[in-house]
């Protein structure tokens, strides 16, 4: 059980099917150097140039809404790649009861169940920024649901708020005994309380999602 390799992949097709290759296949793209994920308004489309017009998700005047679209910002192609199955139907596009959306491929065993978490930055130490709930994990604007062993069960799945080690999702039921793909679906919730944030917090690009795992 040496340290397993972990590849992150996103399904950029409309097909809710399992990933067949850790390096990516016709449905899944592997996250490579310089790639990022981002949520945008519905006007943004797959194939749009990263250097072109950007359509940020719109904060509601009252209440909460789900960000319309999730994208992989592909540094190699220089384009937005739409992660079409991400989120729920409340996003207004092709989200829903979708299982094979985001994937982490492990090359081998772990000593415990891997988790998906969110942190303030790449040090992976704190989770107190406004987007992650400002110290109240339940208020995190990012929510996810593990789908390794089944689909979410609803077109409008609720998900678990992501905020460091305080609020996270286990991607499987236990330690991995062999190489395996783990899956989840995720969404961003925009709330009218965000209107009080500084602009820098709206465009906080330090936030990171992380896979937390163990090996021996």
């Amino acid at each position: 059980m040496s340290r397993p390799s972990v590849n992150i992949l996103f399904n950029t097709s409309g097909n809710d099917v399992a990933c067949t290759n850790p390096a990516g296949d016709t449905n899944f793209e592997k996250l490579d150097s310089g790639d990022f994920i981002v949520w945008r308004d519905g006007q943004q489309n797959g194939g749009d140039l990263l250097s072109g017009a950007s359509y940020p998700a719109v904060i509601p005047d009252s209440g909460s809404i789900e960000a319309a679209k999730m994208f992989l910002m592909n540094n190699t192609s220089g384009e937005y790649d739409h992660i079409q199955l991400a989120g729920t139907t409340e996003g207004g596009f092709s989200g829903g009861d979708n299982r094979y959306v985001c994937a982490a491929w492990f090359s081998g065993e772990t000593a415990s169940a891997p988790y998906l978490e969110a942190y303030d930055d790449g040090t992976h130490e704190t989770w107190e920024s406004l987007p992650l709930g400002d110290g109240t994990p339940a208020n995190s604007s990012f929510k996810a649901i593990a789908t390794t062993n089944g689909d979410p069960g609803s077109d409008t799945w609720a998900g678990t708020p992501l905020a460091g080690e305080d609020s996270r999702i286990a991607l499987d039921t236990g330690a991995l005994s062999t190489s395996k793909y783990l899956y989840w679906n995720m969404k961003q919730i925009l709330s009218s309380t965000m209107l009080t944030w500084d602009t820098a917090e709206w465009f906080n690009s330090n936030l990171v999602f992380a896979i937390h795992f163990t090996y021996a």
Binding site: M1, S2, R3, V6, I8, L31, D32, S33, G34, D35, F36, I37, N75, A104, E109, A111, S112, A113, L116, E117, G122, H124, E165, A170, G174, A175, S177, V208, F209, A210, I211, H212, F213, T214, Y215, A216
Partner: protein, 143 residues
């Protein structure tokens, strides 16, 4: 330094790989009975800011486990980073686990079997030897 030393039955000593590497060696070793685990490491003295040698010792446990806790960023800049080193022993005649987590600071573990890692179980336990004095300690200034 940074390598786990296993003291085994019959006076045998087995030293594993560097825990900071991608292959600490715990999973691959298969000893019959572990009498004692020692782990020498450097820790930062909070007052002087200097590195001080420490040694973690577990002995007398019925089973032992070790693993590296790591995190890998979900982004193109994501690299695997070590967050902690977990050393655990199951107490004889008990459902409790004692040990240490070495992170930015040293955390003492006292939990129950099945909930040893953030409330969940772990795999990779290896057989110890019951009968000797139970030890779960960290010695400062010792290698």
């Amino acid at each position: 330094m940074w390598k786990i030393k296993l003291l085994l039955e019959g006076g045998l000593i087995h030293v594993l790989g560097d825990v900071r590497s991608g292959n600490p060696g715990w999973a691959q070793c298969n000893p019959s009975k572990i009498l004692r685990i020692e782990f020498p490491f450097f820790g930062r003295d909070e007052f002087t800011g200097k590195d001080v040698p420490y040694k973690m010792v577990l002995a007398g446990m019925k089973e032992y486990n070790f693993f590296v806790e790591a995190v890998r960023g979900v982004s193109g800049r994501g690299k695997t980073k070590i967050k902690g080193l977990w050393f655990m022993g199951k107490l004889p005649n008990s459902d409790r686990i004692r040990g240490f987590v070495l992170k930015e600071s040293i955390m003492s573990l006292d939990t129950i079997v099945g909930q040893e890692y953030h409330g969940i179980s772990t795999v990779g336990w290896k057989t110890g030897s019951v009968g000797d004095k139970v030890v779960s300690t960290i010695i400062r200034g010792s290698l």
